[in-house]
């Protein structure tokens, strides 16, 4: 179990799905994109990414294909499946609800109760 997953269970998978949903990526690309979108706030331990990717493939949420990267290197590209897209939608909703609920709780004032 990676440290990140322990900090915020389930979020790594969600981030990966989101990153890949914007277009097929290889592993390093996933890492770069998450960093880029989050403005370098969310940093992921590099090696820990791969077990998560393998798991998502096993669950049928991602498919893989070997291809040439921009740097002209062979790399394994990950792409979202239909099932993955559906899962991303569900997880996003779930996350938003959770975040809103947590925000409401944190915003509570003594007189509001």
């Amino acid at each position: 179990m990676s440290d990140e997953a322990e900090l915020l269970p389930g979020t790594l998978d969600l981030l990966i799905l989101k990153a890949v949903s914007l277009g097929p990526l290889h592993g390093y690309g996933v890492l770069l994109r998450i960093g880029q979108i989050s403005g370098q706030t969310l940093l992921i331990e590099q090696g820990a990414l791969y077990p998560a990717l393998f798991r998502l493939v096993r669950q049928g949420l991602l498919t893989t294909e070997w291809d040439k990267s921009d740097n002209n290197r062979r790399a394994k590209y990950y792409e979202l499946t239909r099932k993955g897209r559906k899962r991303l939608r569900e997880e996003t909703e779930w996350w938003n609800r959770l975040a809103a609920a947590v925000a409401t709780v944190l915003a509570a004032e003594p007189e509001g109760i």
Partner: protein
Amino acid sequence: MKSLAYFRSVAAKFFRRSQTEREMEEELRSHIQHRAEDLQRSGLDRAEAERRARIEFGSPERFKEECREALGGNFIDTLLQDVHFSFRMLRKSPGFTAVAVLTIAVGIGATTAIFSVVDAALLHPLPYPHPEQLVSIEDDLPGISAQDVGMSEPEWQDLQHSGIFEYVSPTWYDDNNLTGSSKPARVSLLIVAPDYFALLGVNPQMGCGFNPENHTPGFTEEVVISDTMWKRDFASDPQIVGRNVRMDTDLYRIIGVMPPGFQAPGRTTRERNIEIWAATSFYGPPLADQPPRNRRNLPTAIARLRPGLTIAAAQSQVDALVESLQKQFPADYPEQARWRVRLLPLKEIVVGNVRQSLILLLGAVGLVLVIGCANIANLMLARASARGREMAIRQALGAGWKRLMQQLLTESLLLSLIGGIAGLTILFWMRDFLVRLVPESLPRLNNISISWPVLLFALGASLLAGVIFGLVPALQAGRLDLTHVLKMDGRGSTGSRQQSRARRVLVVAEFALSLVLMITASLLLRSFWDLVNVRLGFNPESVLTVKTRLPYPNDPKTDLYATASQQAQFVREILQRNRKLPGVEEAAVGDLGAIPLGHDRDNQNPPVPLILEGHETAANQSPLVDASIVTPGYFHLLGITLRRGRLLNDFDNDKAPGAVVINETMAETYWPNEDPLGKHLKLSSSESSWATVVGIVADARIESLENARISEIYTSVYQNVSRHLAHHLAILLRGHLDTAAIPDQVREQVQSVDPTLPVFGAEMLNDTVSASLAQRRFLMEIVAIFALTALLLTWLGIYGVISYIVSERTHEIGIRLALGAQRRRILQMVLRQGLGLAVTGAVIGLVGALIVSNLMSGLLYGVRPTDPLTFAGVALLLMIVALLACYIPARRAVRVDPIVALREA
């Protein structure tokens, strides 16, 4: 939610392992390269960039392992690993492996062998279509304490028309003389109603069965023969259907041949191995035209229930029918007889009398297997302490206790499976030999074979055994005290408290179980012994019996033995000729009932009604007694001693008044406070003149070895007191007989009087007596073998545990000795420990044995199921065995050199 993606992922892992590994490697490398290039772009030189990229990435091996796990199917992976590792461990200790595999192999082999017999006999339904509809019909007269007395023809008709049954067929076992082939033979005949084969639902392999609609009076002139008879007597003649045979001089036409292996549903081997079936409507010549309702002529009957009717529902309808018949015919059914008709599942008739024995055997062999498992568990515990350090290190390195348990269980399951396969292989090789050991009397309507259910049973038993002996050490492994074990540093023995407790519990259990087995075996042995040494009341030494049978043709005009004087003349002739044979000193003739232990509960020798002068009762209320028709020489030949009065003699012939001899039991039963000599009686309600009791002889176990007190009445062949002619005759010869030659010599003599008579069944009386014990002997021997095996295993078990305890306490014993303890005290201490285990086991075992022995009381003879002598004796024997087993390690404890013990500690 195992999706296609999952199976693809698992398949990639196991079936394209190297490719998957290569790609994983490449992917990670590609990642590091990409990162290095980015770092290089930010200004680092190439080497530094690559170094940094690798550091940032972390341990690739760890992530690869995590990726492999993420691929799924890990249980397969760990299982393969465990199996692989287990094989290595088992190879590493070949001694242990050999002992364990051998124990399991013998245990599983024996258990499976017994199970295959149980499966064939008890678990399989009878091999007829819809066997659940088949019943046997038994008539009881509890009022005069008579059971299974048979039914009369009108009662059979009543049942047939009651609407309760689809078919009802009386079954009448008989012998018949088959003539016309090379030499006259006796064949086993079953007389049935024409719907018999329709009832069983079995068709002949050739020709056809009887037409159920055939209601012609008397016998139909058609017979169906068995496959055995077709092959033996007719050389598998393909044109057999339509051929004629002569039975008892009557002509019959063969209309069908039953399929090979077909057996009739009977109680005994003889009743099952029918060779020829004849059908009759049970009225009309040669039988009575209008058979009376109160004469129970039809000894047994089977029936098929109307579809959809349960036995219980049918029974209540039959009860209602019986009640209305009793009201309708009060004269035929006296109230005090309390006539009752019982329906029994047909299977009960076939296997009822072997069920208890078979279950006992299966239980016994199961106990041996469990005791074997306990021993292996003990060995594994010993090994576990030797491997304590290995386990501790693996645990310290992060293996969870679940993982360790899994590993240990895999190891024991592997052991038990190897053992099971070895056992099955042995069984498979020995199957023909083993099947031959099974006594003849065991019903084999279904073949004993190693079938799928038997294989499944063997597999299940192996797995169960593996779990039984694997669980204890596995649970123990989970409870290791790491620091303690690692501190012991390399000396291996952990000697944890729980572990030695587990071992003690195992030994106590072994003790209890083997005590149960030993007591069971001893009770059977004592029963057998008592029966072997029973006072027979007759002398079977150098007596030969040979049987012949006089024909009983349907056409009385062809009957050469229709009258008593015709029979008497034949018997005189036979005796005279046989007395002249070499070595013969005495000769006598009797009917079938006169052969000691040589007849079944048999309708060929039915008990006769006894009517006493001054106590005349209606025929259907008179008590029934066993009667033997004999020649006067019978008593002296068999050594049956005269108590009072006189024996039968040659002057008791058809011109003299009727004379009978009775045995002591009969005298005490019917004339408890009177002198029976001179009393008058009749053995047939149709007889007009009284016969006189002229003598009382000692009881002899003619009917049954088990039962000493059976009333018996003897009448003379020359007098025909019972108005019942014997068709089965036994010739008894005593002297210095040449057993090889004499049967043929007797045949020659008999056939020189009448060449159509079959002569068969020559047997020394000693062999008859011992054959009547065959089933008991088989049961006793097998259980005794199991009990001895259990005893040996238990001995090994307790020896192992006490040795272990001693080696564990060497240090302590050394200190005690150094402090001046007497060696005698040390010896006592060790022995006391062993004895303590034995006593605990014995107490538990005695309770178990009490339960088992009560359940098997039906198999015992002459010994009570709670026989204190057996219980105490066996318990004592086990104690002695325990002490002997403890003595060797105890001696070792005493010889401990304090200096050595202390230095080593």
